[in-house]
């Protein structure tokens, strides 16, 4: 009996030593990550699983919290403001990002040391969105190239060839044919958000702010673009205000799914919404570059985005930065943004990789060749200028400019833009 006990003790002790030994050898770092997008959690979980496979001695455990959009941004703002409770890694949506860069010393870690080595392979305009004083603070998931989604069925019915729609003028003419042949509107325009007006003015070569950060919202080009949108609804009668007001309303998805309109301009990341919320359109939608304003103009622009950041409250800053580098800036990571999320990767050097042509749920829905199309417009994707006033500017576009001009018709384009621009200048 005594022998047995001592035998067991020896075994238990050896096991303990072994266990603690391996523990000493492979350390596990626990990182926390907040996001407002369930899909982003899947992406990061996938990245962590790959990291752990490659680094058996340096394991990461990622604790992810998915909060509603507003709640997450508020929570982060309060925890950074109060100096406690922030996560290691966090997603910040582009229109909120400037809020976190206010003041002399932002509560985020500059990421230049991981961005600089691969800078030449990145669509760098996407990084300027999250930069201040030469420091890059966030890494995006995608380029957000804005494209036109056409419903092939309607175009065929109206005898319209989408590849012959070169300019916006052609688009309006094609729209008239579609309306005559099908009775459906050619497109829908957002009136309570900015995803129609904003990309179009960027594509036209204008912006809300100039390179120095001065407000140029009320310039001639922006007024013309807004007038053009208004004319599409009320003069040419080829467009309608999006049901529900914007392209992310539940009503809108239902409307489109039933074949509500013949085309839709949204960034490439909207593909996920088609696949998830408009299943009946599968196989009917084709993706094409935007019509241009004048020959030789840009056929797209980079829109929206979410920057992942590392906060200064992180206790494992190095690991968090390394994971971010691995997940988003590495070649494999960039490819995953397409295969997992259906986004256009921020590294253009992977756009012609064989993985991008492989079959997945997005090629099933939209057909192949999305990235050959993207490669052809690679140099025609202008970014946007972002300043401290950006959240206020986007707010004004959403709430006042687009709504008052396109829906309520209480102001002319000049009036609405002038008022908004003056308000921004005062801030």
């Amino acid at each position: 009996m005594k022998k047995l006990i001592s035998f067991i003790t020896v075994i238990v002790l050896t096991l303990l030593v072994l266990a603690s030994g391996t523990k000493l050898y492979s350390k596990t770092t626990t990182l926390t990550f907040w996001t407002f997008q369930e899909l982003h959690k899947q992406f990061m979980d996938d990245a962590v699983a790959n990291w752990n496979k490659r680094n058996p001695n340096n394991q990461i455990k990622l604790e992810t919290e998915v909060y509603p959009y507003d709640e997450m941004h508020n929570k982060l703002l309060i925890s950074l403001q109060s100096g406690t409770g922030a996560p290691d890694l966090c997603d910040i949506e582009i229109s909120k990002f400037a809020n976190y860069l206010k003041g002399k010393n932002p509560s985020l870690i500059p990421l230049n040391n991981i961005i600089n080595p691969v800078k030449s392979k990145l669509i760098i305009g996407r990084f300027d969105n999250y930069a201040k004083d030469g420091n890059y603070y966030g890494i995006d998931y995608h380029v957000g190239a804005t494209v036109m989604y056409y419903n092939k069925e309607f175009l065929d019915k109206a005898n319209v060839d989408p590849d012959k729609i070169i300019t916006w003028k052609d688009y309006v003419e094609a729209g008239k044919k579609v309306v005559a042949a099908t009775g459906k509107p050619m497109t829908t325009i957002e009136v309570s958000e900015h995803w129609t007006y904003y990309p179009m003015l960027i594509q036209a070569g204008s912006d809300i702010f100039d390179k120095k950060g001065n407000v140029i919202l009320d310039n001639k080009k922006n007024t013309e673009v807004l007038q053009f949108l208004k004319d599409m609804i009320y003069k040419d009668k080829i467009a309608i205000a999006a049901p529900g007001g914007f392209h992310h309303a539940e009503e809108y998805w239902n409307f489109m799914n039933k074949g509500g309109a013949a085309s839709l301009m949204m960034p490439l990341w909207y593909m996920g919404r088609f696949v998830s919320y408009m299943p009946d359109l599968k196989g009917k939608i084709i993706v094409r570059p935007l019509p241009v304003w004048e020959k030789g103009g840009n056929r797209s622009c980079g829109m929206g985005g979410t920057g992942t950041v590392v906060t200064i409250q992180s206790k494992n800053k190095d690991m968090a930065v390394k994971l971010l580098d691995f997940a988003k800036l590495s070649k494999d990571g960039a490819i995953k943004t397409w295969t997992v999320l259906g986004f256009d990767p921020i590294r253009w050097d992977v756009w012609d990789a064989p993985e991008m042509k492989a079959v997945n749920k997005f090629t099933d829905y939209f057909g192949k060749g999305i990235f050959s199309m993207l490669l052809s417009i690679k140099n025609e994707i202008p970014g946007t200028m972002i300043t401290d006033k950006y959240p206020a500017a986007i707010d004004l576009l959403k709430k006042n400019v687009c709504f008052n001009v396109l829906s309520a018709q209480s102001q002319t384009p000049e009036e609405a833009l002038k008022q908004a621009a003056n308000e921004l200048r005062k801030k």
Partner: protein, 312 residues
Amino acid sequence: MLKIVNEIKKELNIKKKKEIFNSVKIIPYIFVSPFIIAFLLFYLYPVISTINMSFQEILGPGDVKYIQFKNYINLFNHDFYDALIFNSWYTFWTLAVLIPLPVFLAVLLNSKLTIGKNFFRSSFFIPALTSVVVAGIFFRMFFGGMETTIPNTILKFFKIKPIVWTFKYHTAMMVLVIIATWRWLGVNIVYFLAGLQNISNDLYEAATIDGANFFQKFIYITLPGLKPVIIYVLTISIYAGYAMFAESYILYPNARTPGNIGLTSVLYLYQQGFDHNNLGFASAIGVTLLLIIFIINTIQLRFFGLFKKAGD
């Protein structure tokens, strides 16, 4: 000998401790201390801190400076003005609906002639227990712009074009008042029912003997009897009207109020504080709102004579 002394000392100590817990002077403070501590920590401290913050520009942790009255001067803008006007109308309409209607229903529910009283009481009260978020999403869909929503189907029957209810000032106001009515009707009925229980039956009997009819009894007995409750409901309704946030926030996702339709003061505070990271300015909005509600309610209470002493 020493042992005995020690034991006596011990006993005295225990007695002392017991005395503290039995003392009439101390024990009330122990009982109310949880409330006092919670009040100091979660009400008074934030209020003082908000007043302090309303004079600051807050850029980030440790990046704060005092800017005197600049936040208050910035309040003179058309957004805040729109929000206050919207709030005032909203408060007016909720008062116009949420006092007479529950009084009427409470009288019906209190009457001996009504059948199924308990059923109606609980069904009126259930909305108060429902999550406003869930209800808000329902109302957002219900009053959507599609032809197939119920209100638009009814309009179609009368050959009227479908309306985007939440995108027009007056219809949006109507939708918000409907949500408020749906949500608070039951609560107000409960207040008034409690008030009705306090009115002595003798008064009604005496009135019946004198030959008063139902309406005379209602006007000369029920309404005066309900006066304290009506004043109470009026006061909290004015506060609730100006502090309204959740309904608007849910009806317009992510605080996106097109053309300031549906923008309330607290929603504006939220937009400025969190969407624009302007916590100093948001604090100034909060303090101003506090003052406005305080002034309106003081006038109202004075008008209804609540501050007068009995017998005046």
